[in-house]
Subunit: 340 residues, 6 copies
Amino acid sequence: MNKIVTFGEIMLRLSTERHLRFSQAKTFAASYGGGEFNVAVSLANYGIPVEFVTRLPENEIGACALKEMRKFNVDSKNVIYGGDRLGIYYLETGAGTRGSNVVYDRANSSMATIEKGSIDWESVLKDATWFHWSGITPAISESAAQECLEALKVAHKLGITISSDLNYRSKLWQYGKEPKQVMPELLKYSNIILGDIDTALFMLGKDKVSPNYQDEKSLPVLYDQIFKSCPNLKIVATTLRYSVSASHQRIGGILYDGKVVYNADVKEVTPVVDRVGSGDAFMGGLIYGLVNDVNNKQRALNIAVAACCLKHTISGDYNLITLNEIEKLLSGDSSGKVSR
Amino acid sequence: MNKIVTFGEIMLRLSTERHLRFSQAKTFAASYGGGEFNVAVSLANYGIPVEFVTRLPENEIGACALKEMRKFNVDSKNVIYGGDRLGIYYLETGAGTRGSNVVYDRANSSMATIEKGSIDWESVLKDATWFHWSGITPAISESAAQECLEALKVAHKLGITISSDLNYRSKLWQYGKEPKQVMPELLKYSNIILGDIDTALFMLGKDKVSPNYQDEKSLPVLYDQIFKSCPNLKIVATTLRYSVSASHQRIGGILYDGKVVYNADVKEVTPVVDRVGSGDAFMGGLIYGLVNDVNNKQRALNIAVAACCLKHTISGDYNLITLNEIEKLLSGDSSGKVSR
Amino acid sequence: MNKIVTFGEIMLRLSTERHLRFSQAKTFAASYGGGEFNVAVSLANYGIPVEFVTRLPENEIGACALKEMRKFNVDSKNVIYGGDRLGIYYLETGAGTRGSNVVYDRANSSMATIEKGSIDWESVLKDATWFHWSGITPAISESAAQECLEALKVAHKLGITISSDLNYRSKLWQYGKEPKQVMPELLKYSNIILGDIDTALFMLGKDKVSPNYQDEKSLPVLYDQIFKSCPNLKIVATTLRYSVSASHQRIGGILYDGKVVYNADVKEVTPVVDRVGSGDAFMGGLIYGLVNDVNNKQRALNIAVAACCLKHTISGDYNLITLNEIEKLLSGDSSGKVSR
Amino acid sequence: MNKIVTFGEIMLRLSTERHLRFSQAKTFAASYGGGEFNVAVSLANYGIPVEFVTRLPENEIGACALKEMRKFNVDSKNVIYGGDRLGIYYLETGAGTRGSNVVYDRANSSMATIEKGSIDWESVLKDATWFHWSGITPAISESAAQECLEALKVAHKLGITISSDLNYRSKLWQYGKEPKQVMPELLKYSNIILGDIDTALFMLGKDKVSPNYQDEKSLPVLYDQIFKSCPNLKIVATTLRYSVSASHQRIGGILYDGKVVYNADVKEVTPVVDRVGSGDAFMGGLIYGLVNDVNNKQRALNIAVAACCLKHTISGDYNLITLNEIEKLLSGDSSGKVSR
Amino acid sequence: MNKIVTFGEIMLRLSTERHLRFSQAKTFAASYGGGEFNVAVSLANYGIPVEFVTRLPENEIGACALKEMRKFNVDSKNVIYGGDRLGIYYLETGAGTRGSNVVYDRANSSMATIEKGSIDWESVLKDATWFHWSGITPAISESAAQECLEALKVAHKLGITISSDLNYRSKLWQYGKEPKQVMPELLKYSNIILGDIDTALFMLGKDKVSPNYQDEKSLPVLYDQIFKSCPNLKIVATTLRYSVSASHQRIGGILYDGKVVYNADVKEVTPVVDRVGSGDAFMGGLIYGLVNDVNNKQRALNIAVAACCLKHTISGDYNLITLNEIEKLLSGDSSGKVSR
Amino acid sequence: MNKIVTFGEIMLRLSTERHLRFSQAKTFAASYGGGEFNVAVSLANYGIPVEFVTRLPENEIGACALKEMRKFNVDSKNVIYGGDRLGIYYLETGAGTRGSNVVYDRANSSMATIEKGSIDWESVLKDATWFHWSGITPAISESAAQECLEALKVAHKLGITISSDLNYRSKLWQYGKEPKQVMPELLKYSNIILGDIDTALFMLGKDKVSPNYQDEKSLPVLYDQIFKSCPNLKIVATTLRYSVSASHQRIGGILYDGKVVYNADVKEVTPVVDRVGSGDAFMGGLIYGLVNDVNNKQRALNIAVAACCLKHTISGDYNLITLNEIEKLLSGDSSGKVSR
């Protein structure tokens, strides 16, 4: 079995509808999501066996999150239980020149208060071929960072491919450590990193640079600094996002494998139904592409960009797009014709 | 009285709201529609006496469809009853690069199981001046095709104008006959055909051609093949649709009367609220235009294109646009200003 | 205290949702609004003490309007009570080439039937530094026009800054007087007028002109006609609006202070969530800008244009935009990025 | 043809949902209704040809009311147009010990401002066998009362059965006349009156009495006072309503034909989904019963009570109950079993 | 593993909300259900491993049903795919004296057109200890009846406990066979039958009797007729339902094991949120009780009745009640106190 | 001025609609509430100047709570800001035998992390005549308990009437202290205590007793134990609640003033729309009654019981009932008639 394991937090997402401001809302749409879970749903949709590991509270709201995992065919058998609450994020969806607004309420969640050593990673990962995590988990608490390290060590020992999404959020990292104190040790196990060059160097404690993603000549020099810090690294990839407005994005992507800089064409994304989770959709597409043909990096990147673009048309955190829809877009058909 | 009769199937339409995927929907918006009924509603809105003939099941769902006809002032006095079910179609509305998705569940509907000869067309059409049908009806079952032929023979005998929308749907035609075995006999009564040249020739069993609608010189040659097979034909018209994305269409139109090629300017349609039924809106506009001034074909075409464009701003299958709104757009005002 | 007082009518707004036509609606979204109240809410959002004076019916619907004032921190202590009904306007929100549609039902409202002299303006305005009214109030009834005049006289006597939004609506002015019979006497107290040159001259009973807002040379000549009729006038400003479609607007602005013509850059506004009240948002921004720095007219105009643009992304009549969001847009960031 | 004509006002009804108070509502459910129209819908549901005569404003809201008439198969061919607005009533639905709350906003409606003589009653009633009106119409304005009298004179002249629902509402009658100045002249044409004895005598200008509807001996004496004032009277009937709470009613009925007092068993009605219009449902049932068998007054009364009870389970003003459901309840089956 | 397998059809359920009639509905609540699936969900909620076997169409609607199985932790690994459509039932929820109304649209569903032999029952049942089916499956088509027989033969051979819910629906059985021609052969494998005596004897082709469930003396005689026809029978149980109204039910139960008649106290059920599936909730409770303690039949019956009662408070087909809630009700606490 | 001050926590309430279970909900109704705030809203509705003191987070969700205070005319001028989050409670509304279910997520709220001494009570209370608090505040954190004590000392010093609702919730009190260690010191300042005898004695560290509220002879003996511990006590009152089911309550009340036992008649409450906050409605009614006539304790108790009963018909935490509605119920009219 070709099982992929992702590890992180799943939250309750409370979003206003029809572009309402928080102060106008009498109802919140309730859904569930979180970076690493979103990646898991993408993969499950593409038909890949996938498991999500997290810690849930033993209450009705945690039970709802568990049902969501099951609904979307994400294995939950190694989920652990404990702690007091499911993390929450509030989302007010913008439009045009008004950006979306996120209010986090995820402190003291069951995942943030995970106790080090509470997951038996040897057992969890014994059938896995791929492990995915992101920079959010080490940002929420020290024990979560430690559990992440534990997982990475075991995954590395078992020879499992490790992918990392940097996912830097300045509002997190509140427990007294800075990214550069924590991330280098975690990132050194990575085979694949998703994130832009700046963020990677920042997290690795390096000096700030000014990457020009249009200049394929200068990029390898910058990327090589990341490769030097991460001895297992094979691929760094980034979504290239140009925000015309909250309702109009232009999405491309770039991938470097230590030798070649791959570029994907920029696509128009308008209107934007929901952009939250579009980075996770890129990651899901990239993993899918590499799992299916590790040597065709251009195609993996193209799939990642197409998945990211299509995600913007889906409400909620995760990418409910089919492989057929990705193939159609890759074939150049962005016409959005009615299928009937 | 200047009554127009349309004949076909009315279905229950179950659509997800706010671009949700089927798997996200906890509710379906329930409305009613079908190509020939949609044309009838357009005409009723324009103040033309119109009647819709169909077969409905004698249950509560059929009764809802009947109330819908009444609400929109479409005469239902010759509707017949029987069979087991109202046909259904599920609609998932796309956005941007994700197209809308239709799942048909219309097999064995009351209309599909209509028994030949169950409608007294002499009586139905005795006060009519126009009869409209489409290629969907002969596609759903052999008996429906036969009933269609019956209607056409009577309409022709009574000297009524006959308009036909080709409406080719490859998923239909499942009962063992191909279009070319059925359609030529039906189309030969047509005075007006709506459809592109390819589809017309395909249905008439002719060879495939490659029409260039921008080239007004080559078009008459292609159109003449259709005119040759349809001895009563006076007009062929087509919507010209350029899909930028599911949310952005560019709509034009072309009309040929055996002598002159008429063109309507292409209009931008963005955003698209609902594009289902926009072809029927074109048809409704064309009929209205011809009924009002049969000699002003350019104006009839312009009305058809304007109606089609405006339909994209309306939720549901049919075109709830007023003549005033069409006139405003025809006058060049596409500004969408608030009327107050 | 730096209190601003606005005076006018607050109405119940009944709008269809998701671009539905009136005939499709089974529910109306119920909110509240009116030009001068909308300005008050803008100012309250910007942290300025503001009070709204109006007349409400003593029934449950009037009580809802009162709760709305309180919710948005608009002082209601001088609201008076009486009359039979809260005015209503129905709104059908358009899209693309289909414009929004407003049906007024505000005749005989409590505000329209206000009795002259029923408000003690000396008391109301004694702590105020600014009084704002619009051309809607004198348009709804003779007694409302008289009460407006009363307020203006007192405000003028007390040396309070007076701003006036011309807000011409041809469907109003049904009580037997024309604008030119009423408005000149009211406008002569104005220090600031919002409205285009045509409308101003029309209301002042002057000849029609053809202003070219792109030509900064000819503008002062036209503006000077307004200044001549309004001896207290310091500033005339206008929103410049280019309607591409109901879903796409281009918004700029112009301001003249008797000496200099100020221009604000035109901004793209797409999509339009709700354009009703965007003129009031401009007014609110202008007042805020002038209150904060009366000498920086360019900045006041820029704020007004930014507020107007951002309003188009908000459902409902009033502008629930923060100063931070305005500053972000003024700084050139129209990217609509997620704030998280 | 056995056409019944009803005459009165149709209003827009704006109701809060799920027992919300007005101040909690962000949406109003929009439906249409009014006493005499509600009776028409009942009759249409029972398969009786029925026409509703009213005056509608020529705007989009009036057009919605017209579509509602059509949907429910009520003929609207003699509706006249003019005036400014459709009347409104706001409804807050109570529960338990909290009663429902109605706020009227119907002054100056198109119906209230009807001009005397604007309906050609000779033409309207020439095919009718029954005319129904209620005490609401003469209560809203003098001209409406006059138009009512006009209709009654013509109906009487043509020998049409006339039914009258007293429908006394103290909040109406604001135009300077009291019921006793207007109603006696109108009621004298009545063949059938619906209303309790008190109200009837009050409207006829008689002394107050204390009817005991349980005492079949004293009732004829009281009823005879009504018969004396109304020379054409054949039947007086009343709903007997015992309100346990807003959610629990007990409904009976009584009918007197000048000779015999008929009683219908009291039925439990709990829960109450919507009680507005239940009196009109009684009236509709009574008319239906008498139209079908004028001699079986007991059965007509039983149908009226059953229809009234079942109406309480239907949202909205009018009674969407089938004859089958009435028959089932009349047969003693109040079990509410699932029909499948 | 103690796996239970249930076999049958899962349908899309389209229900009106808030007691609306079909003709009032603009949306349908979309959920999924069917007798045997409902039993499976009950058991999954109680923590018992359970699998549902059915045939689904390979379209988006079938995919939704599959996601529903997963969400509620019902194993779907032996579901087969094919056919054209998911069966539908429309539900209009009644209140008080108006019963709920079901319109079936399930003919030609994927399950009805299942081909005999398409399920490998030896494989499906090899780990199972219990097999549950109902009389609906043999009622929908001949091939479904045959597949049912196939399953029963294998289950019997493997020594698995077999439970049968008679579930007689007169509207089904349309394929040319009567229950008595089909059911005796199927029921003879039953160890447990749920259904009343009348229905059982009717399906077994016996004479009609008049059971008095209050008379525990006469019951064994009647039950023995069933036992005689079903050589493997151990238990017959029935829900006893007294319908006061659609909103008020009184629920008891009876169980006979060939020797003793067990009775459960009648409980008041008011209000009824949704009664569809309450019989399946009884069945789920009974199976759970017997699986946990096969010898304590009184307790199993009590659990079944409590589960059935509590189901009436849940929207949708299946019983989302916890064991704790059942225990609370069994302990005599029907107070519905807030748990906080 | 007769200002009342209440002090406590306001939370976001997320409730499922239409009796849905948490796992069925795709939306949560968002409202705001909390015991002491609910009391404040009651009083504001009755026209009494009232202020609520709490601590709110400086984010968008805190701003929504603030707007809610304003909307319902509760003064917020002494609200302080800080901390990370607004507390939440999730509510699943039961029906019949299924009780409602509350999941608390209020740990680490801004109110729970209030710092001792952060409110200037001398200033807050200088214009007040009444101070109300409840046992929830000292239960959430030690600093909240300390701030409560601070307030009580100042209130006592200023001679302000102090009312206390015991509001014992076993799930709170998690910070290491038991009620009996904290509450006696707080309760000793009370003039009025709301709560049953058991709870009062438990919180005061006394032995458990078995009060019989029907026995007015034994009650004074039990009450006197409370009076002994609380030297300032004048009144103890209790809601008497008999839960027939989640949808049917029977509500009475009892009040003891050290001399006389007052009883209010038990009223039927069915159906229950929302019972959360009904105890706070009792408290609000009691305070209102005593503020208006401190000597008429019977009437104050009656008002409290009526307010409590009527609250059950209102969605959301607080009691949006008018004085008129209370008077109507007190006058014996529980008929729930339509007011029109």
